[in-house]
């Protein structure tokens, strides 16, 4: 249901196309540590939704458990939220998505929530191409339980409690590419200029859009040698391209030199514009993304930006061939075959 009410307008506050101020996209006051990367991502989400003129109640926000998973309380208070159990948000999102194909699903998770306990569900949500944006607020540690290593912690990292992580770090972006994800991006909580258009593009993608966002934990994992620290990321950040997201029906104003830029048109007519492209990289070619990522890894770079998008992506509803009308609005008459048919069925068992 689209249900835009005329709203009282403070003349001085800027408004988006549907008349909402940015404040309409905010949530409760954060209880995270001052400086936590997660709060910047929340701000990025608020900004993206504001700019896209999303009606907050047409979006559902879901999360697991962790500091990161708390953030949905801190944005979009007019959206329904679901704070699931640890690591199991993807299945909840899958069910929610199937029930109503018309909402936007925004999942927020942590590296513990997704790469440890949630690994199975994460992999299979990708495989099903569930229509959702999936943001991992990746800090390389378990913030909420006080700083243990997560599965994305660097090999050799020391935790605050002194233990050393002997295991290799799982790269969620590489993993998603291997699994056939149809939209894969990485960003940094400290880089709003890149993050906001990425979130906007992800929200327009028909299918599973992974955003692995490095989000330093100032309390437990912000030592400069940590690849998830502000210092390290700032020093090693490398982008595939800068990104602009032009929503459906907006005029494309900037144009770039050919060869150095590309634009990808999405199903709904919106356009992702990429410029200053990394060499030998084509945003719609999975193999080139894999290769580009391998290169960056060798160099110790943190490769960010949009890495891969499949413009032909078919989301879960297409794959499952569900009707256009949301399943949760179907009524008795749509669902119930009636007594007469039942009698036929009975007969088949006689």
């Amino acid at each position: 249901m689209t249900y835009i009410k005329p709203r009282f307008r403070h003349p001085e506050l800027p408004r988006n196309k549907i008349g909402y101020a940015k404040a309409d996209y905010e949530g409760a006051i954060s209880t995270l540590c001052a400086g936590c990367g997660h709060d910047s991502i929340s701000a990025g989400i608020v900004q993206a939704c504001y700019e896209l003129s999303i009606e907050p109640h047409r979006l559902a926000k879901l999360s697991g458990i962790g500091c990161s998973s708390k953030t949905p309380t801190y944005f979009l208070s007019n959206s329904h939220g679901f704070n699931a159990v640890h690591g199991r948000m993807p299945s909840i999102a899958t069910g929610a998505c199937l029930a109503n194909r018309e909402l936007i699903y925004l999942g927020v998770s942590g590296d513990g929530d997704s790469a440890s306990i949630g690994m199975g569900q994460f992999v299979h949500a990708i495989r099903r191409n569930v229509n959702m944006v999936y943001i991992v607020m990746n800090n390389g540690c378990y913030g909420l339980t006080k700083g243990q290593h997560s599965a994305t912690a660097d090999a050799g990292a020391q935790s605050k409690t002194g233990s050393t992580n002997p295991f290799p770090s799982i790269d969620l972006v590489g993993l998603a590419l291997e699994l056939g994800a149809t939209f894969v991006g990485r960003s940094f909580s400290g880089d709003k200029k890149q993050l906001v258009p990425l979130i906007k593009a992800a929200m327009s993608h028909p299918g599973f859009a992974l955003l692995d966002v490095i989000s330093p934990c100032v309390t437990f994992n912000n030592q400069p040698q940590s690849t998830k620290s502000y210092d390290y990321v700032r020093a090693h950040l490398e982008a595939t391209a800068t990104i602009d997201f032009v929503p459906h029906r907006e005029e494309i104003t900037v144009s770039y030199q050919p060869g150095h830029s590309a634009s990808v048109e999405l199903h709904d007519g919106s356009v992702i514009q990429l410029h200053k492209l990394a060499p030998h990289w084509d945003p719609t070619d999975r193999n080139s993304a894999v290769t580009r990522l391998l290169e960056s890894k060798m160099k110790g770079e943190v490769l960010t930006g949009l890495l891969y998008i499949d413009p032909e992506s078919q989301g879960l509803h297409e794959l499952e061939q569900t009707v256009e009308q949301p399943l949760n609005t179907l009524k008795e008459e749509d669902l119930n075959p009636g007594a007469e048919v039942l009698e036929e069925i009975n007969n088949s068992f006689r």
Partner: protein, 616 residues
């Protein structure tokens, strides 16, 4: 030699090898008897394996309509040399043994007290069919043909079944009928027929149907309006969702677009299956999952979330032999406690106990209503016997006037009128609060669903008082549930005897027969069949009105008895367990014997109150 004689009252057992296509021939046999108007119950006893191991199909024919299992075989149809020793031994003295006489029977299989009927099946199919697969399949049909002579099955009925079955593959009708005739004629030429045990047409099945419980559950989910099914394959629940898939593909395709009014998710595991259900119902769809013991264990965390966050969820638990992987292809009722109290913390779940396929249908639809009404998980407690075997059942019924009870869900209009929405405010005092579906209203009704403690406005809180208020309201809701769940069935207008018996689910068949057996011995009891948990006042009264009550169930630890004691504050000595947990459906004589023994030990002494004498 003695010879068993009986009309419409005997047990035939088929000993096959799995993966050889015997199932459909065996089904034809049972269906023919059913179509002759004679009550029949077939049971598959199959291994946890795909091909090459012994499997049995046991058919009880009972004019009196006793639909439980009965020990002892009157006629053994032996197709599997692997299990022959065991199979020969299981025939009752005076009984019959039909075997493949292509090879001479080894003397070790010869008993003096049973009758042998040799049918050279292998020879016959080798001679009449050329393809190996055909030979294998028609061998099964040949023995059904032979049985038609031996037991007086109306040949026309068998023909009609074949015609129905191959409606879309007409070419196969003639060769099948020919195979039947081969068997028939062989017997007619070589043996006296019919045997002492035989069939006679009756009119005892009325409008009943012969259907398995899992298919009935699936249809219940369809009629109950479930649009999302999420599951992970596991025996014996798998066929619930496959049947759902089969029927929705016929009944729920949008004729214009060809698109689906349903979604089936084969999840990556049971945790995810339950997550999908919870996500879908939270978002306003009706959804269900089906699983068995190990799946219930894996779902416990999510079941606790659904209880505490108050999200509807329907789970069909087709129980099998536990613990752990246990006996995956055997039946039990061993998940009562683990389902009722699934998850850590103070949690409790609604359970429904169907005992016939008709109830599987009805209760699955009801479960969807109850889950919405009570905003909590509802678990339909079926079992392998009910779910995977065909049962004679009243027909499935649906009243076209029936509306779904979606419970307390606020519409945009209602929200518009509301001053302030509180998701966990107990407005009506019944412990059930109003919920909203995402997307309903732009500024009103949004809230945060969580598994943590919260206040009436769904805000996270660590405040002890708010927590207690919420927990006490959940306890109030539990009281409300007692009034909403299906009532128990009483088998008498008023209680007249000192002793009573309680049973539920598939135990019912045998319990009712046992009542008759006991009556024949002069032992009379009142009886009650449980249909749901939490238990209503009627259950308490029934127990209170009897000196002792036998609780009949199919598990070792007397779990239903525990639940009754726990939840109704019953004195344990009042409840006497009758148990059977060997994985086979409980037979009537097990019940009869255990109860009679208690009776005869000069008025029940204290030491019998937990008489856990296992059957067989």
């Amino acid at each position: 030699m003695e010879q068993l004689n009986a009309v419409n009252d005997f047990v035939v057992r088929f000993a096959n090898v799995n993966g050889t296509g015997s199932a459909s021939a065996n089904n034809m046999f049972a269906k023919a008897i059913f179509r002759m108007g004679i009550p029949v119950t077939p049971k598959n006893i199959f291994p946890s394996n795909i091909q090459g191991l012994p499997t049995w199909y046991e058919v009880r024919i009972s004019e009196k309509g006793y639909l439980g299992r009965r020990e002892g075989v009157d006629l053994m149809v032996c197709i599997n040399p692997q299990s022959m020793a065991e199979d020969v031994a299981s025939v009752k003295p005076g009984g019959y043994f039909l075997y493949d006489s292509t090879k001479k029977l080894h003397p070790q299989f010869i008993r003096e007290d049973i009758h042998y009927i040799g049918l050279p099946m292998t020879d016959m199919v080798m001679h009449h069919y050329s393809e190996p697969r055909q030979r294998q399949l028609f061998k099964n049909v040949v023995y059904v043909g032979a049985l038609s002579a031996l037991l007086d099955i109306e040949f026309g009925v068998l023909e009609s079944i074949i015609r129905d079955q191959f409606k879309k593959k007409e070419k196969l009708i003639a060769p099948n009928i020919k195979a039947l005739e081969l068997g028939l004629h062989y017997i007619q030429e070589h043996y006296e027929y019919p045997l002492g045990i035989r069939l006679e047409r009756r009119d005892k099945v009325n409008d009943s149907i012969l259907i398995d419980g899992n298919t009935a559950c699936a249809l219940g989910a369809i009629y109950g309006g479930a649009t999302v099914a999420a599951w992970y394959p596991i025996t014996p629940s798998t066929s619930v969702v496959s049947a759902f898939g089969k029927y929705v593909s016929r009944l729920r395709i949008d004729p214009e677009s060809g698109r689906r009014k349903f979604a089936i998710v084969q999840a990556e595991d049971e945790l995810a299956a339950m997550g999908v259900v919870i996500g879908a119902t939270w978002n306003g769809a009706r959804a269900f999952t089906a699983t068995s013991g190990p799946g219930v264990s894996l779902m416990s965390e999510f079941l606790g979330l659904a209880y505490f966050a108050e999200i509807p969820a329907v789970l069909i638990n087709v129980q099998r032999g536990g613990p752990s992987t246990g006996m995956p292809t055997r039946t039990q009722q061993p998940d009562i406690l683990s389902s009722a109290y699934a998850s850590h913390g103070d949690t409790k779940h609604i359970l429904l106990f169907p005992s016939t396929p008709a109830e599987c249908f009805e209760m699955t639809a009801t479960a969807l209503d109850l889950a919405d009404r009570l905003q909590t998980p509802v678990i339909v407690m079926s079992d392998l016997d009910l779910g995977m075997n065909e049962h004679l059942s009243p027909p499935l019924k649906w009243d076209d006037g029936r509306r779904y009870d979606r419970g307390k869900v606020l519409s945009a209009e209602e929200l518009e009128k509301l001053e302030k929405f509180g998701r966990y405010l107990d407005v009506d005092g019944d412990g059930i609060c109003f919920r909203t579906i995402p997307g309903t209203h732009p500024t009103k009704g949004s809230f945060f669903t969580r598994g943590t403690s919260k206040d009436e406005y769904a805000r996270y809180t660590e405040n002890g008082e708010a927590y207690v208020r919420n927990m006490d309201r959940l306890a109030r809701k539990w009281e409300t549930a007692k009034l909403k769940v299906p009532p128990p069935e009483l088998y008498q207008n008023e209680n007249r005897h000192r002793y009573g018996m309680i049973f539920f689910g598939t135990t019912t068949y045998a319990a009712l027969e046992a009542m008759d057996l006991l009556r024949e011995k002069g032992i009379e009891l009142d009886a009650m069949r449980l249909a749901s948990f939490p238990f209503s006042e009627t259950v308490r009264q029934f127990i209170e009105q009897h000196e002792k009550v036998f609780v009949i169930e199919q598990n070792r630890d007397a779990q239903m008895r525990s639940l009754l004691i726990n939840e109704l504050e019953i004195a344990p000595r009042q409840l006497i367990s009758v148990l059977n947990y060997d994985g086979k459906p409980i037979p009537a004589d097990t019940i009869e014997q255990q109860i009679a023994r208690t009776f005869n030990s000069e008025t029940t002494k204290d030491d019998v109150h937990k008489a856990q004498v296992p059957a067989s």
